[in-house]
C-alpha cells in the first residue's frame, strides 16, 4: 500500500476548489482540528485536508482525484463512532458527508425512506412518525449519528433481537467506488440477483466505498409498549431469567441488564426508582398489539417471580415506561459522573457465558485496580463494560486499554466476538488477530482489494496486516486464555 501522496496539499486543495465551494475545502489547522477524531477521542490525527462536497458528482470527482494521486480518503458522517473508524489519515483527505442531510422521500405505503447519508438516525423516525412508522435500529447515539455511519458500522441498538441491525433494515445503497464510479447495490425489491453485496458493504467501515444514498425499510409503530423491571440478588439468577423469557417463546422488543455499579450510578442520575440493593436489574420491554402485550407482560412477570426476582415492577403509563428507560439510556453519562473518564467496550458473548465473563472481569478489575460497570443488551448478548479511569493519572489510560483488550479476548474465548456494534476501526485492530487466523485475515484483505486495490480507502482500519498480527500474538503480555480458538 502506498500512502505517500504524489501531490502537495496546496495543489490538491486547489484542484478541489475548482469544483467545491472553496469555504468547504478546509486546509487550516484551526478549522481542521474538530476533525482530528471521532467519538473515541483518545485516538486522534490531524488530516491533510477536509472536503465537504454537496453533490454526488463532487464526491465522484474527489474520489477520482484521490485515486489518481494515491491520496487516502476517510469518509465521515457525524463523527460519533466509537472505534476511531473515522480517525483521519495524516496524509489523507477527510470526506465529510455532512452536507448530504436531506430525507429524499418517505413512501408510507411501501414503508421505506430514501435518505442522503448525512441524515441523522433519529430524524428518520421523527419524519416517519406522521405515518405511524419508524426506523428500527436505534443506537444510543441516535440523536446525532447518521445513517451513512450506521451503514458503515452495521449499527444496532436496544431493539436488535426483535427488529435486527442495520443490515436487516436496508433495501439499497448508492456507492461511489474508489475509481469514482456510481453504483447501486440492492434494489426496491427485498433481494437482488447474485452474491449479497449489500450485506458485504454493511459494516465494512468505509473500507470498500463511500455511500451517497441509502434506502431503508420502515416499520409500523407498535400499538403499545410496556416494560417490566425486575431486580435480582445475583447475576446468575438474572441470566436465568433472560433464558426463561426466551424459552417461554416471548421475544421482547428490548431486554437489558445492568450490574450493581450501573444500577446505582443510573439511579443517582435519573432517579428512576431502581432497586438499588439489587445485584442485577433486568428491563424487559414487550411491544405489539394491545392484546399481545397484555398477554406477554403477565407471562413475563410470572417468569421473573418464579425465577427468583426480588422485585418486579411494570410500567403502567408511557411516563413510567420512559422513566424506567431513562436510567438505562443515561447509564453512560451517569457513569461519567462517578469517574473522571470511562472507556466503553463492546464485546458480544453467548448469553449462557454471562456469569463467567462477569466473574472474570471482576478479577481483572481487582488486578488492574480499575472499576468496571456493566450494561448488557441481554437479548442479543452484546456486553458494554464501562471501565472507569482518570486520564490525568499517568499510565492509567494505557492500563485501561490493556484491561479492555483482555475483556475482548475473553469474549472470543467464550465463543463471542470482539465487537458487537461499534466496529473495529483502529481501536480493536489488535484483537482481530485473536478473533481470526492469518488465512481469514488474508481473505479479508483480498475482499478489500476487489474494491480498492490501491488500499487508499480508510487505510489502517478494520483489518490488521498479517505481520502486525504475528507480532501481537507473540507479545509477552499475552495470557493463557487468549489463544485464538480456531479448530
Amino acid at each position: 500500500m502506498t500512502t505517500k501522496p504524489k501531490v502537495s496539499k496546496a495543489a490538491l486543495a486547489e484542484q478541489f476548489r475548482g469544483f467545491i465551494d472553496p469555504d468547504y475545502v478546509i486546509t487550516d489547522d484551526e478549522t481542521l482540528k474538530p476533525y482530528e477524531c471521532d467519538g473515541l477521542a483518545m485516538y486522534c490525527e490531524m488530516p491533510m485536508l477536509v472536503v465537504l462536497p454537496e453533490t454526488v458528482e463532487q464526491v465522484q470527482r474527489v474520489m477520482r482525484i484521490c485515486s489518481e494521486y494515491g491520496v487516502p480518503v476517510v469518509a465521515r458522517g457525524a463523527g460519533t463512532g466509537l472505534c476511531a473508524g473515522a480517525m483521519p489519515h495524516k496524509e489523507g483527505v477527510v470526506l465529510s458527508l455532512a452536507k448530504f442531510n436531506r430525507i429524499l422521500k418517505i413512501d408510507p405505503l411501501e414503508r421505506t425512506a430514501r435518505l442522503q447519508p448525512g441524515v441523522r438516525n433519529l430524524a428518520i423516525s421523527e419524519e416517519a412518525a406522521q405515518f405511524g412508522l419508524y426506523y428500527g435500529p436505534d443506537p444510543s447515539s441516535q440523536i446525532a449519528c447518521t445513517i451513512g455511519g450506521n451503514v458503515a458500522e452495521n449499527s444496532g441498538g436496544v431493539h436488535c433481537l426483535k427488529y435486527g441491525l442495520t443490515v436487516h433494515n436496508l433495501l439499497s445503497v448508492e456507492l461511489i467506488t474508489m475509481e469514482g464510479e456510481r453504483i447501486t447495490i440492492g434494489s426496491d425489491g427485498l433481494d437482488a440477483c447474485g452474491m449479497d453485496l449489500l450485506a458485504l458493504i454493511t459494516g465494512s467501515e468505509g473500507l470498500l466505498g463511500v455511500v451517497t444514498e441509502v434506502k431503508v425499510k420502515l416499520l409500523p409503530k407498535p400499538e403499545v409498549a410496556q416494560v417490566v423491571m425486575a431486580g435480582f440478588d445475583s447475576i446468575e439468577k438474572a441470566g436465568d431469567a433472560v433464558g426463561g423469557i426466551i424459552e417461554h417463546g416471548i421475544i421482547p422488543g428490548g431486554l437489558e441488564m445492568m450490574d450493581s455499579h450501573a444500577i446505582v450510578a443510573a439511579d443517582d442520575f435519573a432517579q428512576a426508582g431502581y432497586p438499588r440493593e439489587a445485584k442485577a436489574l433486568l428491563l424487559c420491554e414487550v411491544d405489539g398489539t394491545e392484546e399481545e402485550v397484555h398477554e406477554h407482560i403477565a407471562e413475563a412477570e410470572e417468569v421473573f417471580r418464579k425465577l427468583g426476582a426480588t422485585s418486579v415492577r411494570t410500567s403502567q403509563s408511557e411516563e413510567e415506561r420512559a422513566l424506567l428507560w431513562k436510567g438505562r439510556k443515561s447509564a453512560f453519562p451517569a457513569v461519567g459522573r462517578i469517574s473522571p473518564d470511562y472507556y466503553c467496550m463492546d464485546g458480544t458473548i453467548p448469553r449462557r457465558q454471562l456469569a463467567r465473563v462477569l466473574l472474570e472481569m471482576e478479577k481483572m478489575s481487582d488486578e488492574y485496580g480499575l472499576r468496571v460497570a456493566n450494561v448488557f443488551h441481554a437479548g442479543d448478548g452484546n456486553l458494554h463494560p464501562l471501565i472507569l479511569f482518570d486520564a490525568n493519572v499517568p499510565g492509567e489510560f494505557e492500563r485501561t486499554e490493556e484491561f479492555g483488550g483482555r475483556i475482548l479476548e475473553l469474549c472470543v474465548e467464550v465463543g463471542g466476538c470482539i465487537t458487537g456494534e461499534h466496529g473495529v476501526g483502529v481501536e480493536k485492530i489488535r484483537q482481530m488477530a485473536v478473533q481470526f487466523n492469518d488465512e481469514e485475515l488474508q481473505q479479508f484483505h483480498d475482499v478489500k482489494a476487489a474494491f480498492d486495490p490501491a488500499g487508499i480507502l480508510n487505510p489502517g482500519k478494520g483489518v490488521p496486516t498479517l505481520r502486525f498480527c504475528q507480532e501481537y500474538r507473540s507479545l509477552e503480555h499475552k495470557h493463557e486464555h487468549t489463544e485464538a480458538d480456531h479448530g
Binding site: 426496491d188 440477483c193 449479497d196 459494516g203 424459552e247 465463543g415 458487537g420 488465512e439
Partner: protein, 354 residues
C-alpha cells in the same frame, strides 16, 4: 451425521492441483436452479456433511453442518417449540440448509421475519485454495471483519463451499390464522401494503387466482382480535395453503412452462403482461409463468424498481439472472477471484461470466 469437512478439503485441494472444476451438490434438489451445471466439472458432494454441531434453544442459535436437511433441522427445532422463521422452501426431502443459503431462498414470511441471509450469524467456508475459514460467529451482533457469511446468500456456491452455518432461530408462533377474500390483481397491491402498514401481527400476504390471502400469527389473543377487525373469511386449511406457497407446490407452479421471478417494489403496479401471475410477499415477489425473453422481463422488473430471474425451466444455457451493470460485474468477478482464484467452484452456474 458426520463431519466430512476434511474429505471435502482434500477434494478441493486435489481439484486445484489437477486444474479441475467442481459442481457443489448437497441434497441435489436445486439442480433446476441457476444455469446448467458444467458437464466437465466433477461433483463435490456435501450431502453427507450433516448434523447439528451446537444448539442452545435459550440462545436462539443453531449451528449445523451445511449438508443437514431442512427436514432434520426443523424437526430438531420443533422439539423445543422453535422454527426457521424464514420458512425455507423444500424442493424435495433432501433440500439442505447449505443450498438454501447459497440460493438465498425464503418463504412467505420473508417480508416480516427476514430471509435466510438475515438469520445467518456465521459460516465456515472452504475457499478455492482449500482453506477452511470461519467468518461471523454464533452471536446476534458481530461486526468484526467483513460480512462474508451473508455474502454467500445468492452466490450459488461460486465463492466457496459452505460447510457449516450458524443461524438465528425463533419461537414458533403460538397461533396462526388465514383470512381470504376475492380481489382483483390491481386492487390487491394497495390492499396488502396498507394492511402491512398497520401494527398488527401479519406474517404473510399473497394474491393468486383472484383471491388475496393474509396470514396473522403470534399471541392467540392478538391474532383473534385482528382477525375479528379485518375483512375476509377465515380459511380453514390456512396452514396447508401457505405450505403450498412456501414449497412452490400450489397449482400455479405446476407444469413445465418457464417460471419467472420478479423481486420488485411492493407497491409497484403489476407489469402489464398477459398470463398467470402469483403475487407474494405483499407485492415484493411476483411470479409469472410463460415463454418470455429475459431482457423483456428485466425491463418490466426494472420499471417496478427491481430485478428478474428465470427461476425454473426455459433456456438454462443462456443467462437466467438479471444482468449486472459493468461496475458490479467487475466487483463480482474480482470477489470470485479473491475467494476462488482458480475458478474451481460452480463455474458459470450463476452467470456465464462468473
Amino acid at each position: 451425521m458426520a463431519d466430512i469437512s476434511q474429505q471435502l478439503q482434500e477434494q478441493v485441494l486435489l481439484a486445484r492441483d489437477a486444474g479441475h472444476k467442481l459442481n457443489i451438490v448437497g441434497g441435489g434438489t436445486k439442480s433446476f436452479m441457476g444455469r446448467t451445471a458444467d458437464a466437465d466439472a466433477g461433483t463435490l458432494n456435501t450431502g453427507e456433511h450433516t448434523g447439528v454441531v451446537e444448539y442452545h434453544p435459550v440462545e436462539l442459535v443453531l449451528t449445523v453442518r451445511a449438508g443437514t436437511s431442512l427436514a432434520e433441522i426443523e424437526a430438531t427445532l420443533a422439539e423445543h417449540g422453535q422454527c426457521l422463521h424464514f420458512e425455507p422452501p423444500r424442493f424435495g426431502e433432501g433440500s439442505t440448509i447449505g443450498g438454501t443459503l447459497a440460493c438465498n431462498l425464503s418463504g412467505p414470511a420473508r417480508p416480516w421475519s427476514g430471509s435466510v441471509r438475515d438469520q445467518v450469524l456465521g459460516v465456515r467456508l472452504l475457499n478455492g485454495k482449500g482453506e477452511h475459514l470461519r467468518f461471523g460467529g454464533q452471536v446476534m451482533k458481530n461486526v468484526a471483519g467483513y460480512d462474508v457469511s451473508r455474502l454467500q446468500a445468492g452466490a450459488m456456491g461460486t465463492l466457496g463451499v459452505i460447510t457449516e452455518i450458524s443461524l438465528k432461530v425463533m419461537p414458533k408462533p403460538a397461533a396462526s390464522m388465514t383470512l381470504v377474500q376475492e380481489m382483483d390483481q390491481v386492487d390487491c397491491i394497495r390492499y396488502m401494503n396498507s394492511r402491512a402498514v398497520e401494527p398488527k401481527p401479519i406474517t404473510a400476504a399473497c394474491w393468486v387466482d383472484g383471491k388475496v390471502y393474509l396470514r396473522l400469527s403470534g399471541a392467540r389473543s392478538a391474532v383473534e382480535a385482528t382477525a375479528a377487525k379485518w375483512s375476509g373469511e377465515v380459511l380453514e386449511q390456512g396452514d396447508e395453503f401457505w405450505r403450498q406457497i412456501q414449497h412452490l407446490q400450489h397449482d400455479f407452479f405446476a407444469g413445465d412452462a418457464p417460471l419467472w421471478r420478479l423481486s420488485v417494489s411492493s407497491v409497484a403496479a403489476n407489469p402489464d403482461l398477459k398470463g398467470p401471475w402469483l403475487i407474494d410477499w405483499a407485492g415484493s415477489q411476483r411470479w409469472y409463468r410463460g415463454e418470455q425473453e429475459l431482457g423483456r422481463m428485466e425491463a418490466l422488473a426494472k420499471a417496478a424498481g427491481g430485478q428478474a430471474s428465470l427461476f425454473r425451466g426455459g433456456d438454462r444455457n443462456g443467462e437466467v439472472m438479471n444482468h449486472q451493470p459493468e461496475a458490479l460485474k467487475g466487483i463480482q468477478r474480482r470477489l470470485k477471484n479473491a475467494f476462488d482464484p482458480d475458478n474451481i467452484f460452480n463455474p458459470g452456474r450463476l452467470y456465464s461470466w462468473l
